[in-house]
């Protein structure tokens, strides 16, 4: 693996870093410490800038008008874009635009017209409804929402849990069991408008992310025309699983940014703060914490870039993506924890972003498949044989 950046990648990294430092950090300074969005005028101003930079809609494929970044460059940008207070879950507050649900690029032309293109134009929002109260780590077996066919429609009953953005979404990509197969061959993906009769957002689920909530959904005789199936009947799990694998690389990369920023803050603090007659930076206890941070950050970065490079080369990257997800989420959590320790009292206040990163990074070890599931994925690949 060669981790040297190309000239183009270095230019993109430098540009993104400057954008975060000169535009995002000043704009968020006056916001609530848990804010999840910019003031509307700042948002519009910065979207205009990212469009001028040619970076708007980062994750939109080139054939749909996006910048067509490879996975490695996108991961490098994710590391830079997350280096501010809200950066872990709201990198640059979304001013680089979204790409909608990646699965919709596999939709039929009619489905693209109805849901994908309006999403790319910013006219519609979608949500991804997979996890259920019965579990999220093993969705193929946990899905209990049931669908049966009635004429040219499917009728769904069941519920979903921890679904982000459903209360504001115009449509949902919803997975339901549509056969007697209890595993991955009995799940179908449906695209459904959230104002359909029988689609209910029942409650808000509060989490460690103080600014953001998940929702619980309920479906009561929700009728969906058969032309709103995405892909094949009983072929929905492959669609869900593909998303879960691809998501792991940017998900991991986004954790590294706050860790880098926390480390920089801690080095600065250690070089200026005196206790017992000397600077913190002169004390071995602090030096070792900073060194451990550096090891964690570099380890996570190498794992993310290795996974990204394999993906870009068209090689199998499932193990590498799982490893990157596990290493980056756990390493970043350790780094921010040490940085709070180095800062002492001010580290746990809302005056600094450390406490927000600390809370939000804890979620990252669970979201998009917990560390233990990542180990399960790696074990299957390493041991092989019957585990494949």
């Amino acid at each position: 693996m060669n981790f040297d950046l190309t000239d183009e990648q270095q230019m993109i990294v430098d540009t993104t870093r400057k954008f975060v430092e000169s535009e995002i950090v000043p704009a968020e300074e006056h916001l609530d410490p848990d804010a999840g969005s910019l003031e509307p005028h700042d948002f519009e101003r910065l979207v205009t800038k990212t469009k001028e930079m040619g970076f708007y809609g980062l994750d939109i494929p080139a054939e749909y008008g996006g910048p067509g970044l490879d996975t490695t460059t996108r991961a490098l940008m994710a590391i830079e874009m997350s280096q501010h207070r809200a950066g872990l879950y709201n990198p640059c507050y979304g001013v680089f635009g979204g790409a909608g649900l990646a699965q919709l690029y596999e939709a039929t032309d009619a489905q693209k017209e109805r849901w994908l293109y309006p999403t790319l134009r910013g006219e519609k929002k979608g949500c991804f409804a997979l996890t259920e109260p019965s579990g999220g780590s093993d969705p193929a077996r946990a899905i209990q929402t049931k669908g049966y066919k009635d004429g040219t429609e499917w009728v769904l009953n069941g519920s979903k849990l921890y679904i982000s953005g459903a209360d504001k979404a115009d449509y949902a990509l919803l997975f339901a069991r549509t056969s007697d197969d209890p595993g991955r061959n009995g799940v179908t993906a449906f695209i459904v408008d959230t104002d359909s009769p029988g689609f209910f957002v029942r409650r808000v689920v509060h989490t460690l992310r103080a600014t953001h909530y998940a929702t619980e959904l309920q479906f009561e005789d929700l009728r969906i025309p058969e032309d709103q199936i995405l892909g094949e009947v009983n072929g929905g799990f492959a669609i869900a699983n593909d998303r879960l694998s691809r998501q792991r690389i940017p998900y991991a990369a986004g954790c590294i940014g706050p860790a880098i920023k926390a480390q920089a803050m801690s080095i600065e603090w250690a070089k200026s703060r005196e206790t017992f007659g000397s600077l913190l930076a002169e004390k071995q206890a602090i030096q070792w914490m900073l060194v451990d941070n550096e090891i964690d950050i570099r380890h996570a970065r190498y794992c993310v870039l290795e996974a990204a490079q394999k993906a870009d080369k068209g090689l199998r990257f499932r193990t590498e993506a799982a490893m990157a997800k596990l290493v980056a989420t756990e390493a970043a959590g350790r780094v921010v924890d040490r940085c709070m320790q180095i800062h002492g009292g001010i580290g746990v206040t809302k005056d600094l972003p450390l406490e927000r990163w600390y809370r939000e990074l804890r979620i990252r070890r669970v979201g998009e498949g917990p560390s233990e599931v990542q180990k399960l994925i790696m074990a299957r690949d390493i041991i092989g044989g019957s585990f494949k």
Partner: protein, 111 residues
């Protein structure tokens, strides 16, 4: 656990507000008939949490607001959103001076 803010109303005056601790949280203020005038939150930018936020509400709505109720929570942002959604569900629209929040508030249909 109820999702609505269902505590008893307290009289909105300086004495009651000064007695509150300076914690973060959410609140509602209402007129004498119990009609909710404002759904707000006290975030970390408030010098004395919910006390500071309510003092400001008295200045803004003191001519009609007579009651308040509150809830301490560090999840003041998501709880505030939840209360705004519930308000829309219960009353069809947000309080008059908060209608500009409508475009960013989601839909909730509690069972």
């Amino acid at each position: 656990m109820g999702i609505r803010l269902e505590k008893n109303w307290e009289i909105l005056n300086s004495t009651n507000i000064e007695a509150l601790p300076g914690q973060l949280g959410v609140y509602q203020i209402a007129d004498k008939d119990g009609q909710i005038i404002s759904v707000g939150y006290a975030g970390a930018k408030e010098p004395f949490g919910i006390r500071s936020a309510l003092e400001r509400e008295i200045l803004r709505h003191g001519n009609v607001a007579t009651q308040f109720r509150y809830e301490f929570t560090s999840n003041y942002q998501s709880r505030w959103d939840e209360l705004l959604m519930l308000h829309i569900y219960d009353y069809g629209e947000l309080p008059e001076h908060q209608q500009n929040e409508s475009s960013r508030v989601g839909r909730l249909h509690p069972s």
